[in-house]
């Protein structure tokens, strides 16, 4: 059970993530951002709940939709923004961008542009942690779509065989790009896909796959940060105690397009509106108030988070780009002889 302070802190983090991405969409319209970017608007709770239940030395491996994960870990907002803007002061000097952003010192082992690409890396990190007899664990985020990659099955199988300390976190938002899970995930129990009307009490789609590998799987409401935290905390505790890998499937929903400003032809506006009624972020002020947190405190927390994003963005926008040498150097690690 979270204390009021913890819940308020989580709320602040979730506002930061939302404000950060809203700022990003604004920047996209100005042409200052190149390429594309995947927003997690509506999915903030799964990132904040899981990362909140981890400790700072646990290793996080993220995917293409990673802003929530890295901001939940507490990475510097301005350096993240600078990275997305391609500036030298960004975490990776502008080389990585949104989908390839790493902060090794903060044990954030990178977002990943290859769907399913992070699972083996996290499994390998967990292998090293076990080999080094560390009490840290590895945590990897991936989507429902990624659970159809071979790497998902190979990694679960191997992690269970080798009893590795890794938590597989599937953020199931019902779609992989435009394709609903009913078209991508075969089920043994014949449960049918219904147009999602909520994320609470929903049957997991990826959880049954864990059972095939003898891995404990838990399904939780991914938009309820308290539910996420409780499920993650329990799983992480068991893994840290040497219980082997686990899978956590968090039912969630992105309230935005798959990337940038995509027209979402594959779902109805009605579906989106229904889902918006239980936005994991919007529900929090009421819950905090119910628990006796004063309204001014809640508002001040949100306002501070938004102001910090704004300020961080301005600093990032003022940062310099790298030059030719920054683009061409550093392909190989120089050997210290």
């Amino acid at each position: 059970m979270l204390t009021n302070d913890q819940l308020l802190h989580f709320y602040g983090r979730m506002v930061t993530i939302r404000a950060f991405e809203e700022k990003l969409s604004e920047l996209f319209t100005t042409g200052l951002l190149g390429g594309t970017s995947h927003f997690c608007i509506g999915q903030e709770a799964s990132a904040v709940g899981v990362v909140g239940a981890s400790r700072a030395t646990d290793w996080l491996v993220s995917n293409h939709r990673g802003h929530g994960h890295l901001l939940a870990r507490g990475l510097d907002v301005s350096r993240v923004m600078a990275e997305l803007l391609g500036r030298l002061t960004g975490y990776c000097g502008g080389r990585g961008g949104s989908q390839h952003l790493c902060s090794y010192s903060e044990h954030f082992l990178g977002t990943n542009g290859i769907v399913g690409g992070g699972l083996p890396i996290a499994t390998g990190a967990a292998f090293a942690l076990k080999y080094q007899k560390s009490s840290d664990i590895a945590i990897v985020f991936f989507g429902d779509g990624a659970s159809n990659q071979g790497t998902f099955h190979e990694s679960l199988n191997l992690a269970q065989l080798w009893q590795l300390p890794v938590l597989f976190v599937c953020e199931n938002n019902f779609y992989g790009m435009s394709t609903p899970i009913s078209k991508t995930i075969a089920r043994a129990d014949g449960a049918s896909f219904e147009v999602p009307s909520g994320t609470s009490g929903v049957t997991g789609w990826v959880t049954p796959r864990a059972a095939a590998y003898g891995i404990r799987g838990t399904t939780a409401d991914g938009r309820d940060v308290e539910a996420v935290y409780a499920a993650a905390e329990a799983a992480i505790g068991r893994i840290r105690a040497g219980g082997g890998p686990e899978l956590l499937e968090l039912m969630t929903y992105r309230l935005c397009g798959h990337s940038k400003s995509e027209p979402r032809v594959y779902r109805t506006r009605e579906e989106e509106e229904t889902m918006r009624e239980h936005d994991g972020l919007a529900m929090l002020p009421a819950r905090l108030a119910e628990r006796g947190v004063p309204g001014e405190t809640i508002e001040a927390t949100a306002a501070a988070a938004r102001a910090a994003v704004e300020e961080a963005t301005q600093r990032a926008l003022a940062a310099p780009y790298g030059g030719r040498a920054d683009a061409l150097g550093g392909v190989f690690e120089e050997m210290r002889q």
Binding site: C92, G110, Y131, T151
Partner: protein, 326 residues
């Protein structure tokens, strides 16, 4: 100096690095008691056991990714891919993770892993177990690609590769495994970024690597009585190429042939040839020649295989074509 098999030289390098550095682990299919498909890891299981040799399910992409993840956290994994053709299954982690992470994360991480794999045809293994896919790898920035040709080279270079802080694809060769060579008794290492003039000569530079080096050496001996003196240069490192050694040899002889077991089209030979054209045109006295495999998959039949793979006779034809060119 003891004379040992190429495969044994690999084994000794692994053995010595396992005992030298606790962060070194071997990861691969059937590498334990069985000793690997070609017996390369024989005996290491009894000596080091399950704590250092990690036998895996048949999951090439994931075991490569495990190597990457473990390497980023300070280990030195040596991943074995049983046949080079199977790197197709590991290519995502090799191409999108191992090779890019150091650069794209701006030097925050390093990936000191070695991916060992035997390439090349040994006679009868057929289309999915015989290719030399070196040229597939040299176009991937961030990978070091090394292809040693003798017991001496393979032992000294594998040790260097394991100690290197970058991902190294270490191409062994099935045809070389049963060939013997002398290796020093002492603990030695060899650079993995330098070509080696294995046999100096004056008339034509012959650049080769892996299984083709012994073949070129034999051709050199065969042509000696005809008054043709070949300079055999083993490229060793395919990425990066040792340009200085290549250029120095061409400037001396004025003629060049590149010989490889990979397909001719888009091969390492094409790259070396282009470099020579760009940098040594003034020294060239004849067209640069390439000898490589035909652009076909490798057939299983022993009789058919030899039509596809480069033969000593093909090298001799190339030599004759440019010897008297003017």
């Amino acid at each position: 100096m003891p004379e040992i098999y190429y495969s044994k030289a690999v084994n000794e390098a692994l053995d010595e690095e396992l005992s030298r550095d606790h962060n070194v682990v071997l990861i691969g299919e059937d590498i334990g008691k069985y000793g690997g498909a070609f017996g390369v890891t024989k005996g290491l299981w009894d000596k080091y056991g399950a704590e250092r040799l990690w036998e895996t399910p048949i999951s090439e992409n994931t075991i490569t990714g495990i190597g990457v993840g473990a390497a980023m956290l300070g280990m030195r994994p040596v991943v074995e891919i049983m046949f080079m053709d199977f790197i197709a299954l590991a290519l995502d982690q090799l191409l999108n993770s191992a090779s890019k992470l150091h650069y794209m994360y701006h030097g925050q991480v390093k990936v000191p892993m070695v991916l060992r794999t035997p390439g090349g045809a040994k006679g009868g293994y057929g289309p999915s177990h015989s290719q030399m896919l070196s040229s597939l790898l040299v176009g991937i920035p961030g990978l070091k690609v090394v292809a040693p040709s003798s017991a001496y080279q393979v032992k000294g270079m594998l040790k260097t590769a394991i100690r290197d802080d970058n991902p190294v694809v270490f191409i062994e060769n099935k045809r070389l495994y049963p060939q013997k060579g002398f290796v020093p008794e002492n603990d030695y290492t060899l650079p993995i970024d330098k070509a080696i003039v294995t046999s100096p000569g004056t008339d034509i530079s012959v650049f080769c690597y892996s299984s083709m080096t012994p073949v070129c050496q034999a051709v050199k001996l065969a042509l000696k009585p005809l008054g043709i003196d070949l300079e055999i240069v083993d490229l060793v490192s395919l990425q990066p190429l040792d340009r200085e050694t290549i250029f120095a040899s061409v400037r001396k002889t004025g003629k060049a042939i590149i010989v490889e077991e990979a397909c001719l089209t888009g091969g390492v030979g094409a790259e070396v040839s282009a470099l020579i054209a760009e940098h040594c045109l003034d020294s060239l006295e004849a067209p640069v020649m390439r000898v490589g495999a035909a652009d076909t998959p490798i057939p299983s039949s022993l009789e058919l295989e030899k039509f596809v793979l480069p033969q000593a006779e093909d090298i001799i034809q190339a030599v004759k074509r440019i010897r008297d060119y003017c």
